[in-house]
């Protein structure tokens, strides 16, 4: 029993982390119609900035607050200076551009922080593990579950219940029409891109105590995030949540119960989705 609970919690913690990353990827696709290859690098940037803030202040919590806006700022500036000019071109241009940005950012991070991985300690409050009956579980992972849920609820509420969310959804549905009705589409795009990068940055800060900050962490995570988004449906926040849960569960349970095929499972799920529901669980048929 304790084992089942533990595996369940493991799946939830991983899902929390995956959600923070895939939500932004999904948003950017939904609104900008761009598959952002650089998204993983913003996650990595978040982790490294988090390391620096923790090293400077000696505290973890400030990093969680300061880093996402910083990463969002970098993302916003990049969107405004590069992506903005090629939305009308064929998708291959955007792919190449974001891929190039990913390489440039990754190497810049190496130049600034060096090639050695950076360890980040969790805040004192979340260090060590909690004893729940038979179960011993790390506090930090419980925090990841809560953080993932809180951010998911926040983003969903923002999109559904606020005016900003309304405009964003309008742009997502039909950007030309929204433009005619007076929405500043260019600004919405920049803001959404920045916000998505901020979410990835938050994911990076949150991941750093669990995985350390290291070169290549962005590339590794972007593949999982794509799978999540394909399963959940491009552009859908509830879809990202569902996709994160499915991928989190498939990875942790797969590795536990059928380790030899763990790698294949999530791709099998993705393949099945692509065959039977190509627009994803929560996506809209186009």
């Amino acid at each position: 029993m304790a084992n089942l609970v533990e595996q369940g919690l493991n799946a939830l913690a991983l899902a929390g982390l995956l959600f923070l990353i895939s939500a932004g990827l999904s948003l950017v696709f939904g609104i900008l119609r761009v598959v952002n290859f650089a998204h993983g690098v913003f996650y990595m940037l978040g982790a490294y900035l988090g390391f620096t803030v923790v090293a400077v202040t000696g505290w973890f919590w400030p990093a969680l607050v300061v880093v996402p806006p910083l990463v969002a700022l970098v993302g916003g500036l990049l969107e405004a200076s590069t992506l903005r000019f090629i939305y009308r071109r064929p998708p291959i241009y955007q792919l190449l551009l974001t891929f190039g940005l990913a390489l440039i950012l990754e190497e810049s991070i190496r130049v600034v922080w060096g090639a050695t991985a950076k360890g980040v300690d969790p805040p004192l409050l979340l260090q060590g593990s909690l004893q729940l009956g038979d179960l011993i579980y790390p506090r930090y992972r419980l925090f990841l579950v809560v953080l993932g849920l809180a951010v998911g609820a926040g983003v969903w509420l923002c999109l559904q219940k606020t005016r900003v969310g309304l405009v964003i959804r309008a742009v997502a549905q039909n950007s030309e029409m929204a433009d005619c009705l007076g929405a500043d589409v260019a600004r919405v795009r920049t803001l959404v891109f920045a916000a998505a990068c901020g979410l990835a940055g938050l994911g990076g800060v949150a991941a750093a105590p669990m995985t350390t900050a290291y070169l290549g962490m962005g590339i590794g995570v972007i593949v999982d995030a794509f799978v999540v988004v394909v399963i959940g449906g491009l552009g859908s926040i509830p879809g990202s949540m569902a996709g994160s849960l499915i991928v989190g569960a498939a990875q942790t349970w797969g590795a536990f119960y059928i380790p030899e095929t763990a790698m294949v499972i999530i791709y099998a799920v993705m393949g099945a989705i692509l065959i039977f529901r190509p627009w994803g669980l929560f996506g809209e048929e186009e």
């Binding site: 084992n3 533990e6 595996q7 493991n10 913690a13 991983l14 990754e106 190497e107 190496r110 090639a115 050695t116 991985a117 950076k118 360890g119 300690d121 969790p122 060590g128 593990s129 011993i136 579980y137 790390p138 930090y140 992972r141 991941a207 105590p209 669990m210 995985t211 350390t212 290291y214 070169l215 290549g216 962490m217 590339i219 590794g220 995570v221 990875q251 942790t252 349970w253 797969g254 590795a255 536990f256 380790p259 763990a262 790698m263």
Partner: protein, 400 residues
């Protein structure tokens, strides 16, 4: 590179027109012995390429003013980006365009296998200072390939010898899911079972695993006293952090095939007490090594990790062999001079076996410990094994 070559030619031609005879001397002195370094300088494995590069940079500084056969040593670096196909292409460029006769500093075994296979055709020497795959000096041996470093099976051997004397009985093995991880786990299992210990579980997480929770749960359930880890650098750091979080490392001691300084820096105190083998523990207390560590630290501001040390030793040995051969151009003569020769390295005496070009050298079992002299955990030597005990039988990955 091209621009610099062009400028160089321009300067030399200008000098030639001004002073005839001086030009001849100059041209001779400016004909360096080039060593090609096709290594990983970008992406996730760059930390290892940077170690190779640091060693070369220090070596170049140490060799300043000391010519070899009247010629200076020059390094030419190329970035392979962790890709075997790119590695071969870059190596070919070094051989054909830059005219290097020696390649070293290759990081991944997959890259090394690809480059080594081309060396008989190129007729150049490839010296491994990093690559662990046993096959390089066994199944895939060719006479242009020399391995001066401790191989993967040799590391597993040193750990097994150490564990044979420890009270631990039940062990779990966790290896990255590719050749190195699987080979090492197999080699470790067979050696450990010979000394009547039990391997209670084996798992192979994919390279790049970021969440080891499922594996950690299995290790805990197995009630193993130690877990043997053959994980690539970053994966090892992540595993150790998470295992510590779950409190598993209290009951199950981490035993690593290679205990790297990089891991100790990234994992921090959570790694204290981990044991493993080291190809080059920088804390080794010999006069030569103490002096090297000081020079390295003065130059780079950090302490040398395993590949820093072994790459530097490799370069020293290579230069010694070139001097002995009396040529840096006739590769066959250099090979003949190297075979069955020995070298006094930082770690002790090295001997290059003629039969498979694997250097016989001491093996070390070390432990990650705190030492107030250093800003991070450091490897402490627990046991040193003589070369003949840790080197496999010729052209095999097996031990007596």
């Amino acid at each position: 590179m091209r621009r610099r070559d062009f400028l160089g030619t321009a300067v030399v031609s200008a000098a030639a027109t001004v002073a005839g005879p001086a030009f001849l001397r100059r041209a001779y002195a400016a004909n360096p012995i080039k060593i090609g370094i096709p290594t990983v300088l970008s992406g996730g494995n760059a930390q290892y390429g940077i170690q190779a590069k640091r060693a070369c940079e220090l070596f170049a500084k140490d060799m300043k003013g000391k010519d070899v056969l009247g010629r200076p040593i020059e390094f030419v670096y190329e970035d392979t980006a962790s890709d075997p196909a790119t590695a071969v292409r870059k190596a070919q460029k070094l051989v054909e365009r830059d005219g290097v006769k020696f390649l070293t500093g290759v990081v991944l075994s997959s890259e090394a296998l690809a480059i080594s296979a081309k060396c008989p055709e190129w007729k150049i020497i490839f010296m491994s200072t990093i690559n662990g795959a046993g096959a390089l000096t066994a199944k895939s041996y060719n006479r242009y390939f020399f391995r001066m470093n401790t191989s993967g099976p040799m590391g597993a051997r040193a750990v097994s010898l150490y564990l044979a004397e420890s009270p631990m009985k039940r062990l779990f093995a966790l290896g990255s899911d590719y050749a190195w991880g699987r080979d090492s786990v197999a080699s470790f299992s067979s050696q450990i079972e010979k000394v009547k210990k039990e391997v209670v579980g084996r798992e192979f997480p994919p390279v790049g695993t970021k969440d080891f929770a499922s594996y950690i749960a299995k290790i805990r359930q197995s009630k193993a006293e130690g877990v043997y880890l053959v994980l690539v650098g970053q994966d090892a750091s992540i595993f150790l952090r998470q295992a510590h979080e779950f409190g598993v490392t209290r009951e199950t001691k981490p035993i690593m095939e290679i205990l790297e300084l990089e891991n100790m820096k990234a994992v921090g105190d959570a790694m204290e007490g981990a044991i493993g083998s080291s190809r080059y523990p920088f804390t080794l207390d010999t006069p030569r090594n103490r002096e090297f560590v000081k020079r390295f630290h003065d130059f780079h501001g950090v302490y040398p990790d395993m590949f820093d040390g072994e790459t530097y030793e490799g370069l020293e040995w290579l230069v010694q062999v070139i001097q002995k051969a009396g040529t840096a151009d006739d590769v066959e003569k250099v090979i003949a001079a190297w075979e069955d020769s020995s070298y006094e390295g930082l770690e002790g005496t090295f001997f290059m076996r003629k039969c498979d070009h694997q250097a016989v050298q001491p093996g070390f079992a070390v432990q990650a410990v705190k030492d107030p002299k250093y800003p991070h955990l450091v490897p402490k030597v627990l046991a040193t094994y003589p070369g003949e005990k840790v080197t496999p039988k010729c052209r095999t990955e097996e031990f007596d």
